[in-house]
Symmetry: C2
C-alpha cells in the first residue's frame, strides 16, 4: 500500500535537468516508492496521474508552478520527503557564479558584453523567440533546443546571414567553437581538422576518434539536424564550409550528416569542391560517387571519416595552399563505350558539377537523347540500345565514337572531351589506329583550348598492348589515364567550380570562431556548469518562461514584440 | 550526284560483326560514297532507305536474305564495288578451323564432346531458344546476346539451377572462366581474386587493375546486367558466390554491380557474409553501411574495389581457412542514446542480417514502436522524441537505457545486447556508475548465453575519463569497444548467418570452372577467333536463323519443339 502526497509551489521554475536531479534525490529517500518533480503543465500532471503519483489533476495549477509528488510506504515518510525538498535544492551543484544571476538575456549580456555567443536550451516553444533576441543583440546562437518550427529555423538562419552571425541549430547537440565545447562535447586536442555536422553524436564520434588517432580539431560546427533539408537548404553548413575554407588553422575539413536532401547535397559538394582543401564527406545512407573525387574524399562510416581526415591532415601536401582553379573552360562531352564506366564517370562528375546531362538513367543528370545537343556538360553511353540499332557495339567498332568526337570538336562551346577505350580479346583489334587520327583531327581543327582525356582499360598482356595503345593516343595529343578517376579529376580541373575565397573571407561570422570563447547561457544550467568546468568565461541567465508560463499571453506578447520590432525596422528604413 | 546500286542474295547469312567488316570494306573502295551490307529485314531496309542507300524497300526480300547496297560517284564504280564483294568475303580473317564448320549446335557438340561451355551470341530473338538447347544438352551457357526477355532469363536460370549448370547472361559481355576469356575479356594473370559481376566493363576494369597491381584472377563470372533485378533475384550471382566461396584457388571475392534491387542486395550480402572469406562489394549508386562490416569490404568505385581486393589477397590472414560461425545465438537488442550511432549500427547490421526491426526511420528494417517487443533483431534509438516525453535525453540520464537493458535481459529470446555510451562535457558525469551495476545485474540474472557489447565514445581528456569508464564496464562483464564497427562485428559473430559450405560444395556447377576450358561457339565468329587466339579448343557453329529467318514459322517450330520436350518430360515422370 502506498501513500500519496504532493505540494504545489506557485511561480517556481527549474530546468528539466535540475527537475530530474531533484526527483531522483526524493526517490532515493528510504521508504519513498516513487517521486515526481515537474512543472505543473496539464501534460506533466497527466503523466503523474498515469504513473500513480497523483490522484487527479490539480484545479488551478499553472504551467509555471512547481509540482512535487511522492508515493511512500507511510504518511510520515511521504511528509518527511516533501519537507526535505528544500535541502535537496540547496545541496545540488550549481557551478561557479551562482551567487548573482541575471534574470534576462539583456541583463546577462550587459554583465558579459564580450560574449560573442549565447547558448539557448530553453523549452522548444520559447526557443525561437530567445534566439531572435540573441540575433537582435548581435550575438551568435548555439541553439540546443528542439521542437523549433521549420519556419522559425529558416527565418532565424536568414536573419543571421543578413547580420553576419551564425545560428547553430535548432536541435544542435554539440559544437567545439574557439576551443570550447558547447552542449555535449568531448575534450579533444586542438589541431588541423575542421568539422561541420548535421549529426550530433556523429560529430562527437569523429572528434573523439581524431583525438585518439593523435590528430586534433580546429572547430567543430554543428548545424542542427534539419540544416541539410530542402527547406533550410544547408544555410548554416554552407557558411561553415566557407569559414573553414579560409581558416588558416584548418587544413582538412570533414562534413558529416544524416542523408541530406539531394539538391542540398549537390550544393554542398560543389561548395566543398571549390574550397580546394581536402574535404572528407560522410553522408549516412548516401551513395558515394567514388572513394575520391578531386579534393573530396568519401568516407563510408564515422571511423572511416576520422581515419581519412587524420591521414590527410598528416600528409605534407595538405599543409600547402589550396590549389586555385580558373573558371570553367567550355563544356564537357564524355563519350563512353562501356556502360559501367560511363555511369561511374557521370557519378563522379555530377557530385561536384551542378548541371550535367546524360542519356544514362538512374542519375541526377538531366535526361538527354543522345543525338540532342545541349548547353550542359554531358556524358553519353554510346553503347546504349537506342544508339546501336543496326550497328555493332562501339567496343567492337569505334566508328560511333569517332563520329561523336568529330561533332564535339566542331562545337565551339565544348572545351573538354572524355573517352574510354577498352582493350582485350573480343574488342577492336587496334582502337588507336582508328582513334588516334580522330583525336589528332579534332585537336587540329579546333582553334581553341580543347583537351581530350582518355580512360584506357586493359593490360600489358592484351592483344592490343596497353603501353602501345597509350603511346599512340598520347602522340595524337590525348591525355591518357589507366584509372577512370584520374581522367575525371583532370576534366574537373577544367569544368569544376572555381574557388572564390574572397566571398568566404568576407563573411563577418569569422570573428565568431576566434578564441577565447565568452558566452551567455540561457536554459539548462548544466551547460553553464560545463563551460565553467572548461575554464570558459560564462554567465548563466536565470531564465523562466515569459508571462508566467501562460502560453496564450506569451504568444500575444511575442506578437506585440514582433510588431514593435517591425515598426522599428520600418522607422529605420 | 550519287548513283545507287544494290544486290539481294537469297538465304545468305553473316553475323553482325562480319556484316560490318564487309560494309566497311566496300565503303573503303575509291569513289564509293557509302555502303550497306545487312540482312534484309524490314527494319534494316528502312535504315538503308533513310540513309539514302536504297530508293525504296524491296518487294519479296526476306530477313534471311543478304542485301548489299552502295552509293558511288558513277555507275561503273558502283557496279565494280558490288562485283568486288566476293573478294572481300574471301579475304576476311576467319580464324583457325574455318575449313569445316558444323551447321547446328548438336553437330558442334558432337565434334567437341568435351566442351562444357557454349558461347551464344546469336541475335536476341533466337538466343533463348539456343540457350535452352544448350542446357538440354547438359552444357553451361555464356549468353552474350541481349534482347532476351526477362521471362526467358528467369526460366533459363531456373532450368540451369535444376540441372547443376550455369547461365552467364543474357547480355553478359565478359567472363574469365577456367583461365579463358569469354566475350570481351582482358588477359590477366591467374591469381587469388574471384570476381562476380552484373556489369561488363566493371568486371573488365577491376580485372585489369588487379593485374596492374600485381594480383590476379581465379575466375571472373559475369551474370548479365539484370541478374540482380527483383525478378531474376540474383539467381546466377548467388550460385557464383557459393562456388567461389568453396573454390580453393579463390582467397578474396569481389562482387560488382550496377544498383541491385534492395532485396536482392540483402540476399547477396547475407550470402557473402556466410562465405567467411574476405569479400569486396562494389554496388554503383548504393549507400554502403560502412567501410568494412565483418568480412565484407565496401568499395566506392572500380579502382577502389581493385585496390581493396589486391590488399586483402596479399594479406597473410587471407590465406587461412574461412572462419566458421556457429548458428545465431538469440536475438539482438541494440539500445542507443546517440541517433547517428544507432543509425550507423543499424545500417551495418541490416547489411548482412535479413530480419531487423527498429524505431529509426529511413532504413530497410521493419518499423517498430519502441515499447513493442519483437521476435526480430532490433535496434532502438532511445533518444527518439516518442521516448523522451517528460524525461531528459538518455545521454544526460541513462535511466531509460537501464530500464531497456533490464527488460532485454529478462527476455529469454535475447542473446546479445549492444549499447552506446557517449562521454564528454554536458553528458552524464559518470555513466559507468549507473550502467556497470545494470550490466552486472543483467548478466547475473540471465541463466543463458547472454553477451553485452558497448560502443564507448569519448577521449582520455573527457571529465569522465575514457579508460576509467571502460575498465568499470568491463569489470561488470561487458565487452567494450571504442569503435562502433568493432562492437557491431562482435555482435555479428553471434547473430550473423552461419556459414554453410556443404550447400555450395554440393553445387555440381563447380565442374564448369575447372580448366581447361573447351567451348562451342554459336553466333559471332569473332568470339571463336578470340578463343583460338587464347589457345582454347573451340568449334564454331555456322549458325543461321531457323526457318530461313521467317519469324512466324520459327515461333511455331519453337512451340512445337517445346511441346515435344514437355511431352518427353511428362513421359519421363
Amino acid at each position: 500500500m502506498s501513500v500519496l502526497r504532493h505540494r504545489l509551489e506557485r511561480g517556481r521554475y527549474f530546468d528539466s535537468v535540475v527537475l530530474m536531479q531533484l526527483q531522483r534525490g526524493l526517490a532515493a529517500i528510504d521508504g519513498v516508492h516513487e517521486a515526481g518533480v515537474v512543472m505543473a503543465t496539464p501534460a506533466n500532471q497527466e503523466l503523474l496521474v498515469a504513473g500513480g503519483l497523483l490522484a487527479s489533476p490539480l484545479a488551478g495549477a499553472r504551467g509555471d508552478d512547481l509540482l512535487i509528488a511522492v508515493s511512500a510506504s507511510n504518511t510520515r515518510i511521504a511528509e518527511t520527503a516533501l519537507a526535505r525538498f528544500e535541502a535537496l535544492v540547496a545541496a545540488r551543484p550549481t557551478g561557479a557564479g551562482a551567487a548573482y544571476r541575471p534574470r534576462s538575456l539583456r541583463a546577462g549580456l550587459a554583465r558579459l558584453p564580450a560574449a560573442r555567443w549565447v547558448l539557448v536550451s530553453v523549452p522548444g516553444r520559447y526557443a525561437a523567440e530567445v534566439a531572435r533576441q540573441v540575433l537582435g543583440a548581435g550575438r551568435n546562437v548555439f541553439l540546443y533546443s528542439d521542437n523549433v518550427s521549420l519556419e522559425d529555423e529558416v527565418e532565424l538562419k536568414r536573419t543571421a546571414a543578413a547580420r553576419g552571425l551564425l545560428v547553430l541549430g535548432p536541435d544542435c547537440g554539440t559544437s567545439i567553437v574557439a576551443g570550447a565545447g558547447l552542449g555535449f562535447a568531448n575534450r579533444v586536442r586542438s589541431g588541423p581538422v575542421g568539422l561541420v555536422g548535421a549529426s550530433g553524436t556523429g560529430l562527437q564520434a569523429i572528434a573523439s576518434r581524431l583525438h585518439a588517432l593523435g590528430s586534433g580539431i580546429s572547430q567543430a560546427i554543428g548545424t542542427g539536424g534539419r540544416d541539410l533539408s530542402a527547406e533550410v537548404g544547408g544555410a548554416t553548413a554552407l557558411r561553415a564550409l566557407g569559414l573553414l575554407g579560409v581558416d588558416a588553422g584548418t587544413r582538412v575539413v570533414v562534413v558529416v550528416s544524416k542523408p541530406p536532401h539531394p539538391r542540398v547535397a549537390a550544393d554542398l559538394l560543389a561548395r566543398t569542391h571549390a574550397l580546394g582543401k581536402p574535404v572528407v564527406v560522410q553522408f549516412q545512407g548516401w551513395a558515394p560517387p567514388g572513394r575520391r573525387v578531386a579534393n573530396l574524399h568519401f568516407a563510408a562510416d564515422l571511423e572511416d571519416a576520422a581515419r581519412l581526415a587524420a591521414g590527410l591532415a598528416a600528409a605534407p601536401e595538405a599543409a600547402g595552399a589550396a590549389p586555385r582553379r580558373p573558371p570553367a573552360r567550355g563544356l564537357l562531352r564524355g563519350l563512353f563505350s562501356g556502360g559501367t564506366l560511363a555511369s561511374e564517370a557521370l557519378s563522379r562528375l555530377e557530385a561536384v558539377v551542378p548541371a550535367m546531362a546524360s542519356n544514362l538513367a538512374g542519375h541526377r543528370a538531366q535526361k538527354l537523347a543522345a543525338a540532342q545537343s545541349t548547353g550542359a556538360h554531358a556524358v553519353l553511353d554510346l553503347g546504349a540500345d537506342e544508339l546501336t540499332v543496326g550497328r555493332p557495339h562501339p567496343m567492337l567498332d569505334p566508328e560511333l565514337v569517332v563520329e561523336h568526337l568529330a561533332r564535339a570538336a566542331r562545337d565551339p562551346g565544348v572545351g573538354s572531351i572524355l573517352l574510354d577505350v577498352v582493350l582485350g580479346d573480343g574488342a577492336h583489334p587496334d582502337p588507336a589506329a582508328v582513334l588516334a587520327p580522330a583525336v589528332e583531327r579534332a585537336l587540329a581543327g579546333a582553334a581553341r583550348d580543347l583537351e581530350i582525356a582518355v580512360a584506357l582499360v586493359g593490360t600489358d598482356e592484351d592483344p592490343q598492348d596497353l603501353a602501345e595503345q597509350k603511346a599512340r593516343l598520347e602522340a595524337a595529343g590525348a591525355r591518357v589515364y589507366t584509372e577512370l578517376g584520374a581522367a575525371v579529376d583532370r576534366i574537373l580541373e577544367r569544368v569544376g567550380a572555381a574557388a572564390d575565397p574572397a566571398a568566404a573571407a568576407a563573411d563577418p561570422a569569422a570573428a565568431a570562431l576566434e578564441a577565447p570563447l565568452v558566452a551567455v547561457n540561457v536554459g539548462l544550467e548544466l551547460f553553464h556548469k560545463s563551460l565553467v568546468d572548461q575554464g570558459v568565461e560564462s554567465v548563466h541567465v536565470d531564465w523562466r518562461p515569459p508571462a508566467g508560463g501562460n502560453e496564450r499571453l506569451a504568444a500575444i506578447l511575442a506578437r506585440l514584440d514582433g510588431a514593435a520590432r517591425a515598426a522599428a525596422v520600418e522607422g529605420g528604413g
